[in-house]
């Protein structure tokens, strides 16, 4: 009987193709929109997660909170303090620096390019591997001697020298109000999808690395320490340990010390993004409701049009339940067809978008299953009233209907 009902419903849908399609359109658009929006949200979260991984999930910054009212000069960190932290926690901390950077203009004869150099220790590549294409990274000697050596990103190198292969070339820039000559010792390359590049846009500035002893020499004070824990060290468990130590050395309460870890931030952004995509997806789901009402409307018309058919069926032995199931099957099938087309549409939109933005897109199977299930339910729910109207028809009156 189920097969019977299915084939009857298909027959009814097929014999009115245009009308059926227009009726399905509401569901198609609704499901398509929900799938597209949720998938875009998921893909964005993925990009952010990747970006954070890029920044380093083992990374954290520690500082005396900017909220303390009595800020003292001793709240800053100098290099000696940093070295001590490194020693005390050497089994937990893989890398530490003073989070220094130089935001300046590099000058090569007439060419001027804005750069943002990150001050790093020589073992920075242990925690953030770099794809060196020419030369080498900053080494121990560079850091110890505070040598004027830099590593450039290939894009910046091309802007400044016209070629990425510029190891040994020199340029001038101002560091700590002191204009000096710097030598390129290495060039690296970084792959970013256009979407990630858009999200992580750093303006027009080019990137590079410089020994942090150049940017922040001995005696220079830094407000924060930037560190990476070793693999296997739980950041959440390690935080109180280092907070306790810093609070003691600075003579501060533990509550005045802040640790900002990438993991925390990631969770923060992630929950915001998922809340956002859920909200927008919810709004899109309203269009499903509208689609459902469209189905109900057309089923009402169909029931009225087919009054005589209902009368004939009843006269030939169809029971109330048979008619009810016939019309419910029809509306559920119509809605589910719309759902399937909507999924194809939604996934296609996301795929095309992903291809254009060269980003991996994520379509969660659970979302697809939910969408189909929901569209089927919409069809059944909005089919109940028309179907029961049909089922209740009096066969004598229905047979007389013109």
């Amino acid at each position: 009987m189920l097969r019977e009902n299915m084939s009857m419903a298909l027959h009814a849908i097929k014999s009115n193709k245009m009308r059926s399609f227009l009726t399905m359109l509401g569901i198609i658009i609704g499901i398509g929109a929900v799938i597209a929006i949720v998938s875009v949200g998921d893909s964005m979260r993925n990009v952010f997660t990747d970006a954070y991984k890029d920044v380093g999930i083992n990374r954290a910054l520690i500082l005396v909170s900017w909220e303390v009212t009595d800020f003292r000069s001793s709240d800053y960190f100098d290099r000696d303090e940093m070295e001590r932290v490194k020693e005390v926690f050497h089994d937990k901390i893989a890398y530490i620096d003073t989070n220094s950077s130089v935001d300046t203009e590099a000058v090569n004869r007439l060419k001027k390019v804005k750069f943002d150099f990150q001050g790093v220790d020589y073992n920075y590549t242990d925690v953030q591997p770099q794809n060196i294409i020419y030369g080498r990274f900053i080494n121990e000697a560079d850091v110890k001697k505070a040598a004027n050596h830099v590593v450039l990103e290939d894009k910046g190198a091309v802007q400044l020298f016209g070629t990425a292969d510029c190891v040994g070339r020199t340029f001038r820039m101002t560091v700590n109000k002191n204009t000096q000559e710097f030598t390129v010792v290495g060039v690296y390359h970084k792959d970013l999808s256009p979407l990630a590049a858009m999200l992580l846009n750093n303006g027009q500035k080019q990137a590079g690395f410089i020994p942090d002893t150049v940017v922040s020499p001995k005696g220079n004070m830094s407000q924060v320490l930037n560190f990476y824990v070793r693999d296997g060290v739980n950041m959440k468990e390690f935080q109180p340990e280092i907070v306790k130590y810093i609070a003691k050395t600075k003579g501060r309460k533990e509550s005045d010390i802040r640790v900002m870890s990438v993991v925390d931030q990631m969770g923060n952004v992630d929950s915001k993004l998922s809340a956002m995509s859920a909200a927008v997806g919810g709004i899109a789901a309203i269009s499903l409701l509208v689609g459902g009402i469209g189905i109900m409307n057309i089923m009402m018309v169909s029931v009225t049009e087919r009054t005589r058919e209902i009368g004939i069926r009843k006269a030939l032995g169809a029971r109330t339940r048979d008619i009810m199931i016939q019309f419910l099957t029809e509306s559920a099938l119509m809605s589910a067809c719309g759902g399937v087309i909507g999924i194809i549409l939604g996934v296609a939109i996301v795929m095309i978008g992903g291809a254009v933005l060269k980003t991996t897109v994520i379509v969660r199977p659970s979302v697809v299953v939910m969408a189909v299930g929901f569209s089927g339910l919409v069809g059944i729910f909005f089919g109940i009233y028309p179907a029961s109207k049909a089922a209740k028809a009096d066969p004598i009156e229905a047979l007389r209907y013109e």
Binding site: M1, E4, G311, I312, L316, G317, D322, P395, I396
Partner: protein, 275 residues
């Protein structure tokens, strides 16, 4: 709900009575809200298996009301209607559906085929509601179409068939579940005279093969094909007379006179006689 085994009450499938139709003091009153209209006044009537009966009357005589009650589409207000021994007065509507499905084959004036649905599918319909397998349905529907002379047109849609052909499809459909009673409501009302004669000859043939046929008509020459004519006027049964069918009269005129045959066919064998 979908997979539930369909249960047809035993009394519907098993009951067999010599009196196929028995009306006892049957009254039908229409309650239109403000006034009550008396549709049928105390009708007593018995039709035995194997009879070929015409119910006649002007419009408003109550013959359509009677038709609806005989067809279990409506219930009597008072009195009893026994169909094949089953009292239909107090049955729930789903049981009435089952009775219509198993006991009655309907033929309507306006054919009432389902549009945009092939002749074959139309004939299959009552069997679908009797939960007969698709294969068996198709086989039987083809046989029935063959029997009414439409064996090659089973794929045609109703709108591709002439009036006479449509009515043949409807008759094939009426025979689908081998019902003991064929109920025809003005079956020739929408047909030209040539087609009318063909359809009436088909009914005569079915009757000769053992079917019980009750037809409602207001045309004397249609009623003339039957063995018994019952007349209604103003909701009352006014006359009930035997009739010698036209086909037999012609035979008698051409051949030797014979004993006028009373409708008998003592034992109706429900399936085989029709197949």
């Amino acid at each position: 709900m979908w997979k539930k085994k369909e249960v047809i009450p035993d009394y519907i499938t098993q009951n067999v009575s010599e009196d196929l139709i028995k009306l006892v003091d049957m009254v039908k009153i229409y309650d239109t809200g403000s006034i009550k209209v008396l549709g049928l006044k105390r009708v007593n009537l018995t039709i035995k298996r194997g009879e070929f009966v015409a119910i006649m009357g002007q419009s408003g005589s109550g013959k359509s009301t009677l038709m609806n009650i005989l067809g279990c589409l409506d219930r009597p207000t008072m009195g009893h209607y026994f169909l094949d021994g089953i009292d239909t007065a107090d049955l729930p509507s789903d049981d009435l559906s089952a009775i219509r499905n198993r006991k009655i084959g309907f033929v309507f004036q306006s054919f009432n085929l389902i549009s945009r649905t092939s002749a074959l599918k139309n004939v299959e319909l009552p069997m679908t509601y009797a939960h007969i397998s698709k294969k068996a349905r198709e086989k039987r529907a083809l046989e029935l179409l063959e029997r009414v002379g439409l064996g090659t047109r089973y794929e045609h849609m109703p709108n591709e068939l002439s009036g006479g052909q449509r009515q043949r499809v409807a008759i094939a459909r009426a025979l689908a579940n081998e019902p003991p009673l064929i109920l025809a409501d003005e079956p020739t009302g929408n047909l030209d005279s040539a087609s009318s004669v063909e359809i009436m000859e088909l009914f005569s043939k079915l009757h000769n093969e053992g079917a019980t046929v009750v037809l409602v008509t207001h045309e004397e020459d249609i009623a003339a094909f039957t063995n018994r004519i019952i007349r209604f006027r103003d909701g009352s049964l006014v006359s009930d007379t035997p009739n010698i069918p036209v086909s037999k009269r012609e035979k008698e005129e051409s051949e030797e006179p014979e004993e006028p045959e009373e409708p008998e066919e003592p034992e109706y064998q429900s399936g085989d006689a029709l197949c």
